[in-house]
Symmetry: C2
């Protein structure tokens, strides 16, 4: 009998989330590829086989076995939109907002994105690593095994490159895989406040080329992973044409586009994303039906971020139900950041999506695994339990995968397995 | 120098939440009795001293010391409204609800409170203990050291008494303190569906006296703790006069009243609670201003349960801000139960309250500690860090107590100390 490194057997359910030909869409979203009384065999950090427990127990011997009796096995979560690398926090601003402070009052009190920019600019790479690492630990313990991370709190050449260095350093020391995104076009820094196009000139002629060069030398654990290029396309930040400039420049340097679109106002960011072949379009809080239809007709993954709406105490959420029903590929993300989403938990995001966006638990799980992997261009390697894929998986202390979204405020993830290694988290 | 059992020192902050003369109200809610660079001394399971770290380090030697450098120490949370003891789950109903099933369709599909009643009736005491214990473990790990638990899934004499036995058994084996509440008037069981008054006759003449007798023999870890009597005062369940009958009968047997009031419709439950001197009035989602004023003029604590609103995907939440501003005593609770709140987390409830009910982090913390202790009649013994109180406290991995509500979906509670004992959770 062939020997494998690890055999997890007798799981009440294995949710494979398998979808080899692209993200799950439409009716396929309600299907997580469930196998009852199932097992997963792993060798050399990859999945060897998934199937009925009796079959795999008969087919393989294993160096290590785990009895997952009464429990669920599913893919590790992929968080495809985060700003998890930063210095400082914004707890004071949180309190001011509750007291009714306006955006401008918060800015005057030193809050907002500029406060995180200042703290991040002041932090050497080592400090960014030190402050961010516990957040990655929390995410991993909650089941997130792959984390997209954006720059965008530096907003000058050195500080943006420092953020990239911190992301690479964290990828090197942390079990999770990190996927970097270049987001110098996150905000207009104070030194350019009357000249946003001047800042974009700097981004395009200096910061972006430096970032692209840096990435050619950078070594991430995921082989040949991309550096993405993102832009905050929003009223008062960058408009549609400015966003096109940034993303086109990124493409010219080989960086596939992503976009922050329609968080507060619709500027046509989704149709721009589709036109440019973006890997994802994110937020989508106010995307009109015709742009949802354009998204559905494209390969761009729509990413919604309900923790942001929750954090603002908002009663409006992106219409994820309509996005799925239109046939678009949908993913979920935390958006973890110190201002609008101090939240590391994909399961809580799933719980929100099921309640305020009317996703089924199966849809929320696909949106947090296989579709989230496609949203970072890694759907061929991550996000599902299929032979040949990286062995990133979770043992969940529940008899049914739907508990991941049904229960909330509790961590049901009992064991995290990353690249076939059973982690202590 | 006197020796104590345990000295926790160098905490960035100790939030005492001290309030010896009754629950915190009004402006005092925004004050958590914060002491910077502070220490707590504990002996024989009680708090001996709280104050500046240098003072306590100079005043005491200790058998065990904990350096809480950079961290926050606060009282253990008191969850004053739960239905955490039950059998089965309602994950299928959760999915049906997302699909748009009506209440009646869910009932026909075997969902609703009756499904939990059936599972609970079918479960021997040992099984209730076995199924409920992991939920208590989750609550304790999230910082809840005292848990009110209601009956009300038995709805017949033997099954209600079985639930009481399970609550007592759990109190005996679990580090958390459990506080029992008799809630046979939680719903009308199917065998009385056309005769709710007939069921109340059974409750009042048979189940309640048996429960009261049982409680005289029962041994809970908290000395001389009460058995409370509760009723679900709601349209379609028990009206105001039926509720008065139940609570008055409870009082006649020595059981202080609590009430479920104004969750969906206002039936005057709050004014009834005030009239009867209830220890708490809970839910308050639709309480009109004149009843909030009556609450404010009373000793009854108002308990709000935002996880229930969240679980239903509702955009309406109890107006906790108005309740505090009116001068009423406010507490928070999870309401953990398998239907409307599968949520063990007081910190997540605090996060919700700050966002959807506009409580300040300080108000949310007082509402989860000292005021919650008053809501279960134990404000003189629990819920704050004051000399002579039971040593139930938390070490929180954050530099500022406001992080407890600012961050969400993550467990910041690093160490739980119950009756002076450092627990492994």
């Amino acid at each position: 009998m062939p020997q494998v490194d690890l055999l997890i057997h007798s799981a009440a359910q294995v949710a494979t989330c398998a979808s080899p030909d692209g993200p799950r869409r439409g009716a396929a979203m309600a299907d997580v590829g469930l196998i009852p009384n199932a097992a997963v065999a792993v060798s050399d950090g990859e999945i060897v086989a998934v199937g009925p427990s009796d079959d795999l127990l008969a087919a393989y011997t294993a160096r290590q076995t785990i009895d997952a009796g009464g429990k669920v096995v599913c893919p590790g979560f992929v968080d495809p939109h985060t700003h998890v690398v930063y210095a400082g926090d914004r707890v004071g601003e949180f309190e001011l907002r509750i007291k009714g402070a306006t955006y401008m009052e918060i800015m005057r009190a030193g809050g907002g994105i500029v406060s995180t920019m200042k703290a991040t600019r002041a932090a050497p790479v080592e400090r960014l690593v030190q402050e961010s690492r516990p957040r990655l630990d929390a995410m991993l313990a909650l089941g997130t095994t792959t984390i997209e991370v954006k720059t965008g709190y530096g907003l000058d050449t050195d500080s943006e490159l420092n953020m990239l260095s911190a992301i690479a350093a964290l990828d090197a020391v942390h079990p999770a895989d990190l996927v970097p995104t270049f987001l110098a076009a996150h905000a207009v820094p104070p030194e350019f406040k009357n000249d946003p196009d001047g800042y974009l000139d700097l981004v395009i002629t200096e910061i972006l080329p430096r970032a692209a060069d840096w990435h050619k030398q950078a070594a991430f654990k995921i082989q040949n992973s991309k550096l993405f290029c993102d832009v905050f396309c929003e009223a008062g930040v960058f408009d549609r044409e400015q966003s096109r400039r940034v993303l086109s420049a990124g493409l010219a340097h080989g960086l596939p586009p992503k976009i922050h679109a329609d968080e507060f106002q619709n500027l046509g960011g989704v149709s721009l994303a589709v036109e440019l072949g973006a890997v994802s379009a994110d937020h989508l809080d106010v995307t009109p039906p015709e742009e949802v239809a354009a998204l559905a007709a494209s390969d761009t993954v729509g990413v919604v971020l309900p923790a942001v709406n929750f954090n603002l105490g908002s009663t409006h959420f992106a219409d994820a139900r309509a996005i799925v029903d239109a046939g678009a590929a949908l993913a979920l993300a935390t958006d973890i950041n110190p201002g609008s989403a101090p939240c590391p938990s994909m399961p809580l995001v799933m719980a929100m999506a099921c309640r305020y966006q009317r996703l089924l638990p199966a849809e929320a799980l696909n949106a947090s695994t296989i579709n989230a992997a496609y949203a970072v261009g890694l759907g061929d390697r991550l996000g599902s339990l299929e032979p040949g894929k990286q062995a990133d998986l979770l043992i969940v202390d529940a008899p049914d995968y739907r508990h991941l979204a049904y229960q909330f405020g509790v961590n049901l993830v009992q064991t995290v397995i990353k690249r076939g290694r059973v982690l202590t988290v």
